[in-house]
């Protein structure tokens, strides 16, 4: 075994990586638990890729066969229902953790200098994850997912100038058709995973380069606080967390496996109670609340522009919060909490 390792090290020069990992340290403080979120996201991403490939073995991305092939996976293939259930629940867990990770970084202001670029890559990863969820939702091609996709791809239309063109690109035309399905499929299985992995590489490199950030109050204490070596102390703890997450995921996937609605009919009226996946609920509710016209402008356009402004605020947070330690920083922290409260409240409201 040692000889094999030596063989690889001589050729690949892995000493640089292993040497770095041995020296990497993780600070210990009140919020150390937040450090586990990043690797947990990676864990679920790995599960997504594996289960996704397995599902793609039997899924057929055509108008005629999509729904039937998913039904076949869920009913005929041995444990196909479990693989589909794991894929669906792992998506939920992963996006939930992405939000926890985002909030953790935002509230501990880990995005402050020199980690602004890390935050930007993180925002891009958030966008890619949400896009993966959105595109994946259409693939079973049942009534609910068709309706949700129609609504979702209709939103960009309200953006002035480029709106109709954007919607046209997403839908492959004016309406949601079989071409839309093909487009969403290739985005979901190829374009977005490649983009995700590429951006993730940059994100991870930046994280290692700058080291783990500590909250402001720890920084103020000065000096170097208590730390744990990453290897083996922190790594073993992470392994324990991963095990628990795996157990929870499989258990929930077994007992709460998703069903499949009837095949989508492009000509049928919209079914009752359409709603997007949970991570879009707050946007969905916000849109519902906007009146038809505001100050003479189209209400939906204002709503979409407000949402885009919100996304911009999130993406450029490190540049807005350029004085994190002072009063401005505290106000922004308050706004972040307010944003979270708004999103949670809107999500719950949309379910009532």
């Amino acid at each position: 075994m040692k000889n094999l390792r030596a063989w690889f090290e001589e050729r690949l020069g892995l000493d640089a990586v292993t040497g770095f990992l041995e020296k990497k340290e993780v600070p210990c403080h009140k919020y150390t638990i937040l450090y586990y979120t990043g690797s947990s996201i990676l864990f679920f991403l790995g599960i997504q890729i594996v289960t996704g490939v397995l599902l793609a073995f039997y899924y057929q991305p055509t108008l005629a066969e999509a729904n039937a092939s998913v039904a076949r996976i869920a009913t005929e293939m041995p444990l196909g229902w479990l693989i589909r259930s794991v894929h669906s629940w792992s998506a939920t867990f992963m996006i939930a953790l992405v939000f926890v990770h985002l909030l953790g970084v935002a509230l501990t202001k880990a995005y402050r200098k020199p980690r602004e670029a890390t935050w930007i890559t993180g925002a891009l990863l958030l966008a890619a994850s949400l896009a993966s969820g959105f595109t994946g939702y259409l693939l079973p091609w049942d009534e609910l997912s068709l309706a949700a996709t129609k609504v979702g791809t209709n939103l960009p239309k309200s953006i002035p100038i480029v709106g109709a063109w954007l919607t046209g690109i997403m839908r492959a035309g004016d309406d949601v058709t079989g071409d839309t399905l093909s487009r969403f499929f290739i985005f979901h299985v190829s374009v977005l995973p490649l983009a995700l992995v590429a951006i993730l590489g940059v994100h991870l490199f930046l994280v290692q380069r700058h080291g783990m950030s500590v909250p402001l109050e720890e920084e103020r204490k000065g000096g170097k606080g208590p730390v744990l070596p990453f290897w083996p102390n922190f790594a073993y703890r992470e392994a324990g967390v991963w095990l628990i997450l795996l157990g929870l995921l499989v258990t929930i996937a077994v007992f709460f496996a998703p069903g499949l609605g009837p095949r989508a009919d492009l000509m049928a009226p919209a079914p009752e109670g359409i709603k997007p996946e949970w991570y879009f609920l707050f946007m969905f509710q916000t849109l519902k609340l906007f009146p038809g016209r505001i100050l003479g402008l189209n209400g939906e356009m204002v709503a979409v522009l407000v949402m885009i402004a919100g996304m911009g605020l999130v993406a450029f947070l490190p540049f807005l919060d350029d004085r994190p330690a002072e009063r401005k920083g505290k106000i922004i922290t308050g706004l972040v909490w307010a944003g979270l409260a708004y999103a949670v409240a809107m999500s719950i409201w949309s379910l009532l």
């Binding site: 397995l54 073995f57 005929e76 293939m77 041995p78 444990l79 196909g80 479990l82 693989i83």
Partner: protein
């Protein structure tokens, strides 16, 4: 029987325990995954063909039928009896066809030839075409796997 010294260090023992158990956990996932990746596509036990459709079949000619996912070939012999083959070449699985003038089965992929009884006579095929049992039951012709 007490050993004077330990066979392996505590570290090695615990490491193997961890590694072994992780492997066992992984193995529990492997079996269902393998079943999923290699799903069974069994051939049918039997196929029933209505005799009415076969009345017009001339002696010495061949008609195709579906044998699960594979093509089946039903041949009416000179004396009116039927023989059935799985129309898949025994060389590399291409579908074969029957050339009536030559009374031989032909596989275009690598120019393999079988005679009218399915015996491989020329080209690369290593063995005869697979036979299927044929029996007439009522108004249907039943094709079965060979016993």
């Amino acid at each position: 029987m007490k050993l004077p010294y330990s066979l392996f260090s505590r570290r090695a023992f615990l490491n193997s325990l961890i590694g072994g158990w992780v492997a066992a956990l992984g193995a529990a996932f492997i079996s269902p995954l393998v079943k999923y990746i290699l799903p069974p596509t069994p051939e049918p036990d039997q196929v029933s063909l209505p005799l009415a459709g076969l009345k017009d079949l001339a002696a010495g000619s061949v008609q195709g039928f579906a044998w699960g996912n594979k093509p089946g070939l039903l041949k009416k012999a000179e004396d009116g009896s039927f023989i059935a083959f799985v129309g898949v070449c025994t060389h590399l699985d291409c579908n074969v066809t029957y050339i009536t003038e030559q009374k031989r089965f032909y596989c275009a992929c690598h120019k393999g030839w079988y005679d009218e009884n399915g015996i491989n006579v020329a080209g690369p095929p290593p063995s005869p075409l697979r036979r299927l049992d044929v029996s007439v039951e009522g108004d249907a012709l039943i094709v079965r796997k060979q016993a």
